[in-house]
């Protein structure tokens, strides 16, 4: 089943992650590669969102996904089966990725000159927000069943991200979810945050999100 490449990441020995992340960002800028650091809690639909986006990204961009998990390769296998170039990164128990770990992943990636790489970070709203990975865009997904109170509880995640995607809007009738409260709390932390509402399952809102990401890649080049 595991036809994907699995990279066992080594813990970084670098002390200054911010400096290293700035360097990686410059390297990626020179190479014309836009790195998107995709974060969320567990089970918010990061992989399903990438699958849904592929329909719109495939014709326009050379892109791929680095899946980071503590264990298993289920997500990379899912994407690979759908024809999306993917590798699985294992963090060796670590709860996040830093810039050096991200670089290890990128070096193991076999697409030549990609326009866009998604780093699907470990499902965790706390630790990944603390470490700059060198990404051009920090993107977070919040799914409707998780509730509208997440910005209040995990403020750093929403301060760090420029792009907030609210997923599973097809489940809005089943859950109490106050969009106004969410937007108010998120914008209090980050006035410029861009918010999209999608259902990766039904496809609603995916085309707009894809257009936004394609535009971000063009700006980066």
């Amino acid at each position: 089943m595991d036809e994907v490449k699995i990279i066992e990441l080594k813990e970084s020995i670098l002390e200054d992650n911010d400096k290293d992340a700035a360097l990686l960002r410059e390297e990626l800028k020179s190479a014309g590669t836009c790195l998107v650091n995709l974060m969320s809690g567990p089970g918010s639909g990061k992989t399903t969102t990438l699958l849904a986006l592929s329909k719109y990204l495939n014709d326009t961009l050379k892109w791929g996904v680095m899946e980071a998990d503590i264990d298993s390769a289920v997500d990379a296998v899912t994407l690979q089966k759908a024809g999306i170039p993917s590798i699985q990164l294992h963090t060796g128990g670590m709860c996040h990725l830093d810039a050096d770990m991200t670089r290890q992943g990128i070096r193991s990636f076999e697409i030549e000159n990609p326009d866009l790489i998604f780093l699907e970070n470990v499902g965790n709203l706390v630790c990944p927000a603390e470490f700059d990975t060198g990404a051009a865009v920090n993107m977070t997904i919040l799914s409707v069943p998780e509730g509208d109170d997440k910005p209040a509880k995990y403020p750093l995640m929403y301060q760090t991200c420029s792009l907030l995607v609210v997923n599973k809007i097809d489940a809005l009738p089943v859950f109490d979810f106050d969009k106004e409260r969410l937007e108010r709390d998120a914008r209090k932390l980050n006035p410029d945050i861009k918010i999209f509402y999608i259902s990766a399952k039904t496809g609603e809102g995916i085309e707009d999100l894809a257009s936004y990401l394609i535009e971000k890649v063009r700006e980066w080049k």
Copy 2:
């Protein structure tokens, strides 16, 4: 709105958390207090489950809740309003609680000789699993919308917990969720794990879970 006591926890300076946790567990055993460390990803329904349990616990036990979050006091306020003695612990950005932080919380708690204290840990499937809090019972909640693949991705959490509660089963018709896969993966990591299926929203399964917890408290005394 914040009528609850908020404790700003200090980072522990103790080096041997396992030893400190064993000591705290002994102290709690002597005091006849059963500490339940309640863990889950963000938005799985920890607070709602405690609210639902209160109906069955209130007549039988003297109990309360310590809510741990990075920021906000929304959960402790919710519980307090429902008449459940609660305090809010702020972790100062930390992604988990250790035994010393748990002890700081317990010392600030104003119930005399409680039978049961829930520590509602930071919503995170990674880091809390790594730190023994001194609890008698480690309990984890997985909600249906998060998906059945969580044991495969976050193995330590399921190895660490003796009690797995699957919440939001009222949403089963809306999501693909394979109970057999979940149970197989969870039992592979932890053959003795006890599994309950509940809906904190509709009340389904709550009475059985409450009976199990009351029994655990009796065994502990």
